[in-house]
């Protein structure tokens, strides 16, 4: 080989400026959804990536908008209950109870004690189901399939108890305006306590599998941190707000049902990251368990509904036996409950945060407006703000931990 060729072929060390210069890259647009592997309902996230970091994230929702508000404006007040079931479908009794409480606030009804206890018990059972579903989804998407199987088993066992009580596993349609629809069968309290013991053992197993698991903690600690001031400004409520350090819980701040008589704690987090939001759910499951056992201890036999024919269907012997019973039954079914005109905002603490119903009534048997304040809404709306600068693989744990349920956010 000639000397010129040998010179040309000698390896040249790169100049140091070339080594340190950043790689020229273009931003990439990645589309997540709306047909999601994660069973969260449907949301479309258009994510602009700078390498592996999320530069911006735009959310496109409305793929599950089912016209809840407009449907409810065309049916009677009692016929709204199945629609409210399907809002937060993992904890549907809490939606029923929230709506019933809002209407009773407007009608100024006093619900009997046994009904209040039953409502509290079923609400807390569904709160446990909601948190189990979140933990299942979080585990599944981070690769822990065992956690998914255990949590779904626990949820199934609780649904079996609720089937004995309400008739349906998922969309229970249990509460009515003025009380609840049916009584607990014999021995239900003992069976449910045994089921709760089994759920506690499953929950402890899940806790043992995830909470001190190096892989899990590395993926969720410090990810998706929301400061206390930010959480309040963005409108967070519920476990996500308490994980950021603000101890606001509607059950303590404005007690409803029988929560003022019960002894339970409100767990509050410190960092506001995904690990805290997950730990909140585990702790809240423990508190719900406490609440249910106290309710079983304190619940006494009694009436299930208010004995007022203007709001509640009369018992069948009276419907078939007396004229007033027939007339009341007819009017309630055909025209609906005559709720006095006015507006009210009834709020309860659902599993995910503050569930609010803004009702406007014009005095007829149908709602004039039924506005829903979905607990998962502010958290989903804040997702682009939380995820700025995060890694793409952080999107999934953060999206899981805010527990966006498509049915309630998209009504």
């Amino acid at each position: 080989m000639s000397t010129e060729v040998k010179e040309a072929l000698k390896p040249v060390a790169p100049r140091s400026s070339e080594l340190d210069a950043p790689l020229k890259s273009k931003r990439m647009l990645v589309n997540l959804g709306p047909s999601h592997p994660a069973t969260h309902g449907t949301a479309r996230a258009v994510v602009e990536l700078e390498g592996e970091n999320i530069a911006s994230c735009k959310l496109d929702i409305g793929f599950l908008h089912r016209g809840f508000e407009k449907s409810c404006e065309n049916v009677t007040w009692t016929q709204c209950f199945p629609y409210t079931d399907r809002l937060n479908y993992v904890s549907s009794i809490m939606n029923n109870v929230g709506f019933a409480l809002a209407v009773e606030k407007l009608c100024k009804l006093e619900v009997p004690e046994r009904a209040q206890y039953l409502r509290t018990i079923t609400s807390e059972i569904h709160r446990i189901c909601d948190h189990l579903t979140l933990v299942a989804a979080l585990g599944l998407e981070l690769g822990a399939m065992t956690v998914f199987l255990y949590a779904v088993e626990g949820r199934d066992l609780l649904w079996d108890r609720l089937t004995e009580l309400c008739g349906a596993r998922l969309t229970s349609n249990y509460a009515r305006i003025g009380g609840v629809s049916r009584d607990a069968p014999d021995g239900w309290a003992e069976k449910t306590t045994a089921t709760l013991d089994r759920v506690v053992s499953l929950r402890d197993e899940i806790d043992g599998l995830l909470t001190r698991n190096r892989i899990f903690v590395d993926r969720v600690r410090g990810v998706g941190t929301v400061s206390r001031a930010d959480a309040l400004d963005l409108g967070f409520t519920g476990p996500c707000l308490r994980a950021s350090g603000e101890p606001y819980d509607v059950r303590k701040a404005a007690p409803y049902l029988v929560y003022d008589r019960l002894d339970f704690d409100i767990p509050v987090g410190s960092n506001g990251d995904t690990l805290d939001r997950y730990l909140m759910r585990i702790e809240e499951m423990k508190q719900s368990d406490r609440i249910i056992r106290q309710c079983f201890r304190d619940m006494a036999p009694g009436e299930l509904v208010v004995r007022d024919f203007r709001y509640v269907l009369p018992p069948k012997p009276e419907v078939y036996g007396t004229i007033e019973g027939v007339m009341a039954h007819f009017k309630l079914i055909m025209e609906g409950i005559q709720v006095p005109a006015g507006e009210v905002y009834g709020y309860t603490e659902a599993a995910n945060g503050e569930l609010g119903f803004y009702l406007v009534s014009d005095g007829s048997g149908r709602p004039y407006k039924l506005g829903l304040r979905a607990p998962g809404w502010p958290m989903l709306a804040a997702l682009p703000i939380i995820l700025k600068g995060a890694l793409l693989s952080d999107l999934i744990p953060v999206f899981d931990s805010i527990n966006m349920i498509g049915g309630e956010v998209e009504q």
């Binding site: 047909s35 069973t39 449907t42 793929f63 908008h65 016209g67 449907s71 199945p82 479908y89 779904v152």
Partner: protein, 184 residues
């Protein structure tokens, strides 16, 4: 082949045709058996029925027993499109596109009453049943259906697949994407 001859009336089937017919039947039965017991589902999950779908895939009502365990989250790799939950007018083009992306042979299960007929959401936003957009093989009603109902639907679908006519090669040009769905 014998199929073209079948179209002409008055042709007497020969023993060679009988043999070909029996072979085709055996291939069809074999392929039907293979396809029905290895369904790769694309769970198009939208709403509440998704919770029952999760239960179905979990340990108690195990869908794996029927060979339909593995969800494939790419339509190119799936053959069973399970539409789980309400499909609304904004989601309809997405569903249509996913269905068109799935390669033949494909089957569609309408899981839940919202997918079968719109459910009780008869309003401005909801498609009144996905069979207005794509052809459906099995409808599983219920709001949400119990997992046992869905398993019954899957078994019904498997019986249907066994009874369909399967061939190793079609012998005719493949359909172009975007055309109207062929009637089943």
């Amino acid at each position: 082949m014998s199929t073209e001859l079948d179209a002409i009336p008055g042709i007497i089937p020969t023993r060679r045709d009988d043999a070909m017919g029996a072979l085709e039947k055996m291939v069809s039965k074999g392929l039907g058996w293979a396809r029905k017991y290895s369904l790769f589902q694309y769970p198009f999950v939208t709403a509440c029925c998704g919770m029952e779908y999760m239960t179905l895939a979990a340990a108690r009502y195990d869908l794996d027993r029927f060979g339909a365990a593995l969800p494939r989250f790419s339509p190119r790799q799936a053959d069973l499109l399970m539409v789980v939950g309400t499909v609304n007018c904004k989601q309809a083009p997405v569903l249509r596109r996913v269905w068109e992306s799935i390669a033949e042979p494909k089957w569609v299960v309408a899981f839940g009453v919202c997918a079968s007929s719109g459910g009780f959401y008869d309003n401005y936003a909801t498609v009144q049943g996905i069979d207005r957009i794509i052809p459906v093989d099995v409808y599983v009603p219920g709001c949400p259906p119990r997992p046992e109902q869905v398993l019954d639907g899957i078994i019904m679908l498997q019986a249907k697949i066994q009874g369909q006519h399967h061939q190793l090669t079609q012998g005719k040009p493949l359909p172009v994407l975007g055309q109207a769905p062929r009637p089943r």
